[in-house]
Every structure is written in structure tokens, then in C-alpha cells.
Symmetry: C2
Subunit: 281 residues, 2 copies
């Protein structure tokens, strides 16, 4: 990056910063702290697309649902996001999203925003009973750059090391927060929904070509619930249901330390276990 | 409907029948066997949008992921679907979808299609151990018309009756197939993903205003696996993680009778438990 980062701005806020171009279009640019193997971390892309709605003058309410489809690699540098409010109802608003570079669409999406209202409430899902984050050593996840922008403390299912073999379970559970610490908001929550590495790495005990094709986030948290998290770690747990013919799903929950279910998130992921780092297939 | 249905065409095929208008646009019309409380059954809408891709001349591969957002009610009668292949890669293809009536968008969506290839495979999710469908009496689900187009046999969590009260679990498990029986395909599978009634009905033991806002389907089944199901029942199981401030999620699996996980599907649902059928709030 040729820019000099403003030391007063958190790396996350710098990464999702957008400049209005008019007509619902905004311009952003990839930043080095969220670089992945090829192009930026998918979570920061999803967060940036959500942000394009949050800064839109016609936005109504809070994020409820977001789907982002990773259609093509994003090159490092500038991009544009088009956010269009397709339908605005009394209590909800439907958006279509498109991220493009030099006129080529790399990422598509849809989102639903809406108002919350008083209702009966109950949580059936129960937060896993795990040791608190201060009892677990932080660890880097992969050699990729974006993991350095998070404080990650693995309870189970950490990234396989060179001496690890296949496992029977695709479950990963970790405490995670932005690093440096930053108050949680909807944008950061969406990025955290993609904080896992591919489940096929864990099951097969090794790296391979793999990546998210489509990611959906259902937001349960209200603004008050998010604000109550402050800069604390959240607990993130992911698992796969099935691996077959080059694809797998991933279902995950993000919990506040107080036991509040903040978001549930679901991915379709491709993997190629025939691929080897040495080029042999 | 003023049309006379062709007796040789299954009601499902009649419901998802589309006429090409050119430029990736197709025209369909709602049919009486899939009518819901207000407008058509959401599952048939999602299936019809998938069908618009399946009949598109540029389509590559099989359905992998679909998200459909129910932005506005659909009126009974004609509609148009625009399906646009935004990006075609070697092994995958990304689509945007829009259903409209008289120029107004009622439904948005995105889809990913792609090729399957040989890979390591494993299923972690295990099909629930339940009695076979022929040991369970079929039952109508609601008084709405579309449930008559399905054979439903509830294992647990059936629609609450007038004497049922609140329950502690949002789990519904049922055997379900098209009625009349019809060989399973991707289009029918997508419709089946929406075969549940709102989880808030079950938890509170009564009806209320409620509806799906956004629905995502991740397809695990290959064409061969679907063909192997024939016209048999599939097992469908749904649950919610959290109900709060007017919204709930719903996560579900669709299993072949042979234990194959065919699809996982996730919804965001609004509910208004203050609403009463007598108009009092």
C-alpha cells in the first residue's frame, strides 16, 4: 500500500472506509492488514458490503440478513460497491449489492435491514461451556496476514500443524476479537462470521485449495446487545454437516461472553483435496 | 384460475412452468395448488426462481447455493423472473435473480451453480432415527392450500391444535413428499426446504402473523443422489436458535430415506406475537 495509515484510525475502520460516489455507489480499497492468500479476507469484503448500506442515506433500521457470494478474486487496490434499496416496507428494507473492479463484478449480495420491536423472546441454542479467553493463550492462525488483525484463542479445532493428522470432527471453537481491541458493531460482527479456516483443513489435517463460495449471516443482536459486548472477546463455533464432490457447508454461531447469541452464519465452501502445495494433483 | 390444468402435467411442474421472454427473462404465473395465506407458498417461489436459471441457455452445472429474499407480497397471477449470469468461471457460475409483477420487484435472490468433481467425502451430520413414513399417518398441516400439495407425516412438532399450549422445543421433524408423488429434482428439493410452518407457532402453541424474510439453501445432493430418491418421502427437520425482538432464525436439514443429506437450509423469519386473529394487538 502506498498510503500512510492514519494512526488514529483502527485498522478495521480503515479497511471498511468508503467514499461516496453518488447514486448509491461507493469506493473503497483493500488494505494490507486484511490480506488473505489470494485477495482480501472474505469477512472484510462482506463487512465492507454491509457498510455500503450502513452509510447509504436511504437506509432503514439495522442489519437482519446478509448473503455475499464470492464470484471472482478481488485484486488488491480500489473497488466500487453498488448498494440498491430494491424495496422499502414500513419495517423492513431489501437491498441488492455488487462489488466490482474496473467494471467487472467480483462479488454479489443481498441484504435485509429492518426495525426491531418488542416481542416474546427465547434462546434455544446454548453457548458452549468453555474456559474464559484469559485462560487460553492467543495463537496465530495461519501465515496469512488477516489473522494478525484478530486475537484468536482456540478452545478446540485449531489450525492443523505439520504433525497433525486427520480428525473425526470439523468443530472449531475459539474466542476472538479485533486486534487491537475495538468496540463490536454490526460491521465487525459480519467480518467475525468468516473468522474460521476451511473445515476440510481440520478434517484432513492439512492445507489444500479451498474457499468460501457463498456466505449468509443472520443477525440476532440488537444495537444494545452489541454495545454491551464492548471490546470483549466473542465465542465463535463452526462445524460442517457434509463434505462431498468438492463442496462442504459450514454452520457457525457467534456468542457474546454474556451468553447472548449474536449471529448465526452459514457458508458453502469449495475444496480440492487433490491439490497439493507442490503442484502435484 | 381461469386456465384449465393439463391433466398430464404434475401440479408442481405446472406451478414452476416458465415461458421465455428473451434476454434471460421468463414469465410464470401462480397456481391455486400452491396458494398460501397471502400470495403463493414461499417454497414454490424459490423453486420457480431456481427454475429460471435451470432453463436459461447459459446455465453451467448444478445448483449449489440459493438465497431468496421475500421483499413484498406476490399477487396471484402472472409474474416475471429475471435471471442474470453475473460471472461464469471454469467450474462455477454466479447468478442474480429478481421476481417482479408489473414492474415492481417482489423477490430478490442470488444463486451459485457449479460442477461437482471427485473428492474426499464424509458426512458428520447424522439423520435422526425415526419410524418410517408408512408407520405414521399423513396429516394436513394448516388450512392453507399449498399443504395439500404435499404428503406430510409428522414425527414430532406438528402444527399446534386448538388445545395445544406452548412447548419448550422448536423442533419439527416430518416425512414429506410431493402429493401426487413426483420424482425428486433440484427444483422440488428447494420447495421442500420451505415446508415448515413458523417455529414461533410451535413454541407459543398458536398462530400469529409470521413469515420468511430470507431463505438460503445449500444443496449437497448431486443429480445421481436426487435421482436415487425417486418418489420416496424425504425427512425434514427444522429448529430455531433464537427468538428476539420480532425475528427468529430457522435451520433445517433435508435427508433422503437412505440417510443422504440432500440439503441444509436457513431462514430469517419475522413474527408478531402481539397480533391476534381477532384483530386485537
Amino acid at each position: 500500500m502506498s498510503e500512510t495509515a492514519d494512526p488514529g484510525i483502527h485498522v478495521f475502520d480503515a479497511a471498511v472506509a468508503l467514499t461516496a460516489l453518488g447514486d448509491g455507489r461507493v469506493r473503497g480499497r483493500t488494505t494490507e492488514p486484511y490480506e488473505n492468500m489470494v485477495g482480501p479476507f472474505g469477512g472484510i469484503t462482506a463487512a465492507t458490503m454491509l457498510r455500503a448500506i450502513e452509510v447509504h442515506p436511504d437506509r432503514l433500521g439495522d442489519p437482519l440478513a446478509l448473503t455475499v457470494n464470492f464470484a471472482a478474486p478481488i485484486s488488491y487496490g480500489e473497488f466500487e460497491v453498488g448498494a440498491r434499496p430494491v424495496r422499502t416496507n414500513r419495517n423492513s428494507q431489501h437491498w441488492t449489492l455488487e462489488l466490482s473492479q474496473e467494471g467487472t463484478t467480483t462479488t454479489t449480495g443481498t441484504a435485509v435491514f429492518g426495525h426491531h420491536r418488542d416481542s416474546w423472546a427465547d434462546a434455544e441454542a446454548v453457548m458452549p461451556d468453555v474456559p474464559p479467553p484469559d485462560r487460553i493463550a492467543p495463537s496465530g492462525m495461519l501465515t496469512v496476514r488477516w489473522t494478525g488483525s484478530y486475537d484468536m484463542r482456540f478452545v478446540e479445532g485449531a489450525v492443523p500443524g505439520p504433525d497433525d493428522g486427520p480428525t473425526d470432527s470439523s468443530v472449531t471453537t475459539l474466542w476472538v476479537r479485533d486486534d487491537p481491541a475495538r468496540p463490536l458493531d454490526f460491521t465487525a460482527l459480519v467480518a467475525l462470521c468468516d473468522c474460521f479456516f476451511p473445515r476440510s483443513f481440520l478434517r484432513l489435517g492439512r492445507f489444500m485449495a479451498a474457499g468460501t463460495i457463498s456466505m449468509t449471516v443472520h443477525v440476532h443482536a440488537t444495537p444494545d446487545e452489541l454495545a454491551a459486548q464492548g471490546t470483549d472477546h466473542v465465542l465463535a463455533q463452526a462445524r460442517a454437516s457434509r463434505f462431498s464432490r468438492g463442496y462442504a457447508d459450514q454452520t457457525a454461531e457467534i456468542w457474546g461472553r454474556d451468553g447472548t447469541l449474536l449471529a448465526t452464519t452459514h457458508q458453502l465452501v469449495y475444496f480440492n483435496d487433490q491439490w497439493r502445495p507442490d503442484g502435484r494433483r
